[in-house]
Symmetry: C2
Subunit: 360 residues, 2 copies
């Protein structure tokens, strides 16, 4: 009859017995609650340490009705997210806050708004998360009401267009767009187009509005606009349409990098010299943009910081703190080689022919 070593991790009861107290007192000591004498607390913590005891998240979860986890639901087409450098950096920012706090991130990637709502409901009803980060805000976004209904805490990325019970963590990308327009206008461009994201997405709309505002301020016409779904495919299609215009723009401001890169390809395939025949700018700063020929002038946002700020705000909110809106450093224009003065400031008709051996 040999001694069987107990392989299981110690529980609060092991600690209590070893310290000669009740398990309730161990719980008090651990959670810094009053009613424990200083020396007893010390002894308990020492024993806990000695035994290598870590309280079970599951048990705490059941008794405190908390998940100790945050949720992020992404509802965009994976192919579009794939081109977007935002989320990996953003998530790594979240993670850097969560890991030290002993919290976890539950990620859900779905397609379509119904699946999105279902996902939120599932996270809530399964008690998987205590709060959610609401990204890619849409106009009149139903997720605000949904999160309230589900009694989830939440922070929004950007400020909603409707009354919101949740703190917003914001980056002023309007500044980046304004700088972009100013940069192009200073170079001498007057016909500037904007290829934007879906207007139903607030940041898509905001960038478009900022574009128009900046154009008007300069006395330039603000109506060469095309709305897309943020995909490279639609960015390419939009570019083709713009280049086919009789009085075509000399510069295009894209709302993200994948579209700008696709647009660059389309322009080059049409025989245009970028930036001499056409200036191009992106948004969100992908790594690869800097290595294109020409390298891409873009607006860099600080996705990682955004993730950190959102996660820590949400944790504080869940802890019952009052959390105010947070404004992060504005997005910054990075000027590289895809922008230059238009070929001829006065007469723009010396441009290269639009059509040329296109394939596909």
């Amino acid at each position: 009859m040999s001694f069987v070593p107990k392989s299981d991790r110690p529980t609060i009861l092991d600690v209590a017995r070893r310290a000669g107290v009740s398990k309730g007192l161990v719980s008090f000591a651990l959670n810094d609650r009053p009613g424990v004498s200083a020396e007893t607390r010390k002894r308990i913590l020492e024993v806990a340490d000695e035994l290598g005891w870590r309280p079970s998240v599951r048990a705490r979860s059941l008794s405190t009705d908390r998940a100790f986890a945050l949720g992020l639901v992404l509802a965009r087409d994976p192919d579009i997210i794939a081109g977007d450098p935002f989320f990996p950096s953003f998530i790594s920012g979240i993670e850097s806050v969560l890991a030290p706090a002993g919290q976890a991130l539950v990620l859900s990637m779905v397609e379509g708004e119904e699946a999105e709502a279902r996902s939120y409901r599932q996270l809530a009803s399964h008690g998987r998360v205590d709060g959610v980060i609401i990204s890619d805000l849409r106009a009149n976004d139903s997720r605000l009401a949904l999160a309230s209904e589900l009694e989830l805490s939440a922070v929004t990325l950007g400020r909603p267009d409707i009354a919101s019970p949740f703190p917003a963590v914001t980056v002023d990308d309007a500044a980046g767009i304004r700088d972009t327009v100013a940069h192009l206008a200073d170079l001498g461009h007057t016909r500037i187009a904007h290829v934007g994201g879906p207007a139903v997405m607030l940041h898509g709309r905001r960038r478009r509005d900022s574009f128009q505002e900046a154009m008007r301020e300069r006395g330039l016409s603000d109506d060469i606009l095309i709305e897309t779904d943020f995909s490279a495919a639609e960015g390419a299609a939009a570019t083709a349409r713009l280049l086919a215009l009789t009085d075509r723009p000399t510069a295009i401001v894209y709302s993200n990098d994948p579209m700008a890169i696709a647009g660059l390809g389309v322009a080059q395939r049409a025989g245009l010299d970028v930036p001499r025949d056409l200036s191009i700018t992106g948004f969100d700063g992908s790594d690869v943009g800097g290595y294109l020929h020409p390298s891409l002038t873009t607006v860099k946002t600080t996705a990682r910081k955004w993730g950190e700020a959102a996660a820590s705000a949400l944790l504080r909110l869940i802890d019952g703190e009052q959390v105010a809106d947070i404004d992060l450093d504005p997005a910054a224009l990075v000027v590289l080689d895809s922008t230059a003065p238009p070929r001829s400031t006065t007469s723009g008709n010396a441009a290269a022919p639009i059509h040329e051996g296109e394939r596909t």
Copy 2:
């Protein structure tokens, strides 16, 4: 004294009382266990449905010692992941299996191997997940032993180079590389370079080995190799070095798309005409590659299917099933415009000058 409506969700006890049975029996009925008569089971399930009862994941978690969640730990630099279209599609594939199964995905993004190990330990000790998907396998990967030690179930993406207790879910990317080399050789290329990922990563190494093998089979020299970290930056640097060779290659096979795109930019900036002076191929098939000028010949892997297969294999494994290795459809070459016959098959010295108005 008014009646206070009970806002909380029903528990198993509510169901039991309403059905006139003990809560144990409700549990049996729910889990399809023997010992419940057909009509009683029916009644219980009806009552459960009527009350809208869903068993609490937390409570089940505590009593069954299961998390009902899977973990994915990504240990690459976020900037590198950002350029890689693989993970979003992969994750969406995972999700499509998990959501209907009532399981969740816990995602962790860290930098460095120590942080990676810490993350696995935390997931395990907090009981956050029942199993993990091990991606980006490395040579002699310590995570296999770690997962065993932590008593986590696991599946690996690709076959490890050491004995593994876990099922592998594999895509034969060797086929894609072989096809790529065959395609280039058929076009008449003889000096073909390979810009690969880190050799410590098995898929980086595998692609390189496949490249060398395919080259040797054709009787071509297989030693123009550069190893990188998969980043656009190193892809660009590698390209610059290759172009500076006295007898420079007429084609470059890159191990992922971001490097190929960066390489394309470098070549063009050096005044080369791609594909006439230099053919270029990518790997993994980013969305944007198809819109570049020239559009990028690449190898498309089915990331989404990979995610589905890995998740469902892992769920079955956790359920105690025996799971065999799974081989998915091999990666397929997609020929677009970035590959063409070399300018001159016999004498290659009519190439354009390397240096030209470079900025940055």
